[in-house]
Symmetry: none
């Protein structure tokens, strides 16, 4: 993966009656620039959709392949879940993707979808769930500041 990229920011977009959502323009730019595709799957740990570049899943596959932990059953199971669940999404000329019923239901998304950048990947939340989640995270930070020092290195 030569070029670097980051999925950033938190953006709220509407989901219309057909299930279409605009992918944030920044995200689109990344996909175009890298000539890759967006892949989405149900998060294994939270009630949200998770997305990344197809390249990232490629990397995951390779990592598993080369893993010294040949017998890691857990990892194996998890990857099965992800690869089995993941689906490629292309956006139309206006930048929209069409999420599936399965994904929308799992994330409890109705009218609006919240895109949350995570660096190499991103998540899509329902408005309600994201409010709660962000609150939880900020709460956690307050009580555990030491582990969160992105500034410290360099």
């Amino acid at each position: 993966m030569r070029k670097t990229f980051l999925f950033l920011d938190t953006i709220i977009n509407k989901v219309d009656a057909k299930g279409r959502v605009s992918l944030p323009s920044d995200y689109r730019a990344i996909v175009k620039e890298l000539g890759s595709e967006i892949v989405c799957y149900r998060s294994l740990t939270a009630p949200c959709i998770e997305g990344c570049l197809e390249d990232s899943l490629e990397k995951l596959a390779t990592d598993i392949e080369n893993s010294t932990d040949f017998f890691s059953e857990t990892q194996d199971d998890l990857t099965n879940l992800i690869f089995g669940d993941a689906k490629r999404f292309t956006f139309d000329s206006t930048g929209r993707i069409m999420l599936t019923e399965k994904l929308l239901q799992y994330a409890q998304i109705k009218e609006s979808a919240v895109f949350v950048g995570k660096g190499r990947k991103f998540q899509i939340w329902s408005a309600e769930n994201w409010v709660k989640e962000e609150q939880r995270l900020r709460e956690k930070v307050k009580q555990n500041r030491p582990t969160l020092k992105p500034e410290g290195e360099n």
Copy 2:
């Protein structure tokens, strides 16, 4: 990151009705020279906006990628908070960036923004809050001079 750079000085610029602010010219020079971009997010520890180069976040993303596995819970929470809040800011031909409502509100910035250099990053304060903060810092130094030794850098 080959080239070195430092965000320095304290500079007050006006914020217009649209939320536009001139990025200090020194900062602009750094961004240009390194071919990077400015990224801003709400400080986790103070009522101010924090900014850095996208390169710094890139490095963080890579570190996280390499230090924890794909399914790590720590990675999950961390990345949500940092990357979800961070936003890329490009400046126009006159050197201005457009800060978002969210950031301005969090830092309680109305008409003027105070840019404070912090080396590898910088902060943006409201005029009022910065006065207080600087006072607090100087007060702290006076009473705690011994701790100002090489080890305690930041």
